[in-house]
């Protein structure tokens, strides 16, 4: 494959979509750089959407790439990736990870998986303000979920830490989804189509589980026997 086949540039409504298809990331990066240098006149001032395929890329590396593109007068706006890790890293930097509504085939997949409830993602870090985690299955966080961050999960959400951000479990409509946390004090808690907020007056923090009972979101102490 020549460089032009590895790196495709096309204009779409949201900006310039650059698709990188290469097995080796450093080679892909070099090819990308070359393409941009070659076509710098045409590209200058553009808003870029970079589709990196299956590559797993660290946040710092994405940051470098964005800074490099800045030098060429290009603004990196979104990263599209098949890798959950790369998507999360892009979100950490405040980059978009989807350009419009999720594609139809993905949605179908989402609903099926959410109902069987088998797939989960484990996040072992503090979710800071501005961080958004979206996953079609269950989400488990080891760490705090700070105010200003959000978790949207197709299934359940379990937080081994303080939950203070916005959380939406059963986002695809699963009424049986639950939200558990060592200290359950989210800015807003949603399960399926129900919304609740944390009461102002709270006792001593204790592990709690929120679920829908008779059409209302209720939180009960989260103990080994609670199902």
């Amino acid at each position: 494959m020549d460089d032009h086949a590895k790196v495709q540039i096309k204009g779409i409504r949201e900006g310039l979509l650059i698709t990188v298809r290469n097995d080796d990331w450093s080679e892909a990066k070099a090819a990308l750089q070359e393409q941009i240098k070659e076509q710098s006149e045409f590209l200058r001032g553009g808003r870029l959407i970079l589709d990196v395929g299956n590559h797993v890329i660290r946040a710092a590396e994405l940051g470098q790439l964005r800074d490099m593109l800045t030098d060429d007068g290009l603004a990196l706006w979104a990263i599209l990736s098949n890798s959950q890790v790369t998507q999360q890293n892009a979100q950490l930097l405040g980059l978009a990870t989807r350009i419009n509504k999720p594609s139809p085939e993905r949605t179908t997949h989402t609903i099926e998986t959410a109902l069987t409830g088998e797939e989960a993602v484990l996040v072992r870090r503090t979710l800071r303000s501005g961080y958004s985690l979206q996953y079609f299955g269950h989400v488990v966080v080891i760490g705090d979920v700070n105010p200003g961050s959000e978790i949207v999960a197709g299934g359940d959400v379990v937080v081994w830490g303080r939950l203070r951000g916005m959380v939406h479990a059963g986002a695809e409509g699963n009424q049986d989804a639950v939200v558990c946390a060592m200290d359950l004090a989210p800015t807003q808690l949603r399960i399926a189509d129900h919304i609740a907020t944390t009461p102002k007056q709270r006792g001593k923090p204790q592990p709690e589980m929120a679920r829908i009972v008779d059409g209302q979101v209720v939180a009960v102490p989260w103990q080994p026997k609670t199902k």
Binding site: G63, D67, G94, R128, S129, N146
Partner: protein, 267 residues
């Protein structure tokens, strides 16, 4: 020394980035180090005013980047301390006139010239902020004991951590110990619990800071000010020495009581 380039940032505006930069830089320079501070807030420069050097600006950061002058020519020597320099921001341009890699190149040139480089970041998380953190060895995040400032600090810490920009340190500015005592203000413990990074200084609220800013004389040069002492301590900690935190609650003496009485009377 490897940790010599320090970027001071906050996310939210008005929490004291510029004041902190001016004071920490001055404190380091008083101890004899060669210090350069850079105002990265292109278009909204302030650091020159706080240092009292406004009328000496000939060349600025953008002039250096665009090659209109040499780096040395843009370094303004401080009035009081011969080993303290300022590279001012351009006032008539905007953040896009400098790129993150321009900053890295410029700071690399400075590394051999001085002991410390302090970069005063603009508010926000956009280009100006990225320019400011690109060359940083250490990032100092300033926050106030207010929910909005702490929230923004959290966001900033997340961004800096993602970019793997060396250690992140916290300075808590404008704390009012009386209010914390009455549980009317977020306490340092509340803030640290949320942000979970190393604290390197708590600066108490001090009216003299406003005066010093207006006069262009950093508060660290005032031996009597508690805020000045707090900034001197931060400089010492950045230089790698341990100093105990100020006991801000030690104001139960006569003056402490008087000032509290007057304050509650005023409300």
């Amino acid at each position: 020394m490897t940790n010599k380039v320090i970027t001071i940032t906050s996310g939210k505006g008005g929490v004291g980035k510029t004041t902190a930069t001016a004071n920490i830089a001055t404190a380091l320079a008083v101890d004899g180090a060669r210090v350069v501070c850079i105002d990265a807030d292109i278009g909204l420069r302030n650091l020159d005013v706080v240092l009292g050097l406004e009328n000496r600006i000939v060349y600025d950061l953008v002039d250096v980047v665009e090659g209109r002058c040499r780096l040395r020519q843009a370094m303004i020597r401080d009035k009081r301390l011969p080993n303290l320099f300022l590279i001012p921001a351009a006032q008539t341009r905007d953040k896009t006139s400098v790129s993150p890699s321009d900053m890295v190149r410029l700071i690399d040139e400075l590394r051999t010239e001085c002991d410390w480089v302090l970069i005063d970041s603009p508010a926000g998380i956009e280009r100006g902020f990225r320019n400011a953190i690109a060359p940083a060895d250490v990032v100092v995040v300033i926050t106030n004991p207010e929910i909005s400032a702490v929230r923004d600090a959290d966001r900033i810490i997340g961004l800096v951590e993602a970019e793997e920009k060396g250690p992140v340190r916290l300075v808590l500015n404008r704390l009012k110990p009386e209010l914390v005592k009455r549980e009317d203000m977020l306490s340092p413990d509340d803030i640290l619990e949320l942000l979970a990074i190393e604290l390197i200084g708590i600066v108490p609220e001090d009216e003299k800071v406003i005066l010093s800013t207006n006069r262009g004389v950093p508060i660290v040069l005032d031996g009597k000010s508690q805020a000045g002492q707090a900034f001197r301590n931060i400089a010492t900690r950045l230089a790698g020495q341990n100093v105990p935190f100020l006991n801000l609650e030690d104001r139960n003496g006569f003056f402490g009581r008087i000032s509290r009485m007057m304050r509650s009377g005023g409300d």
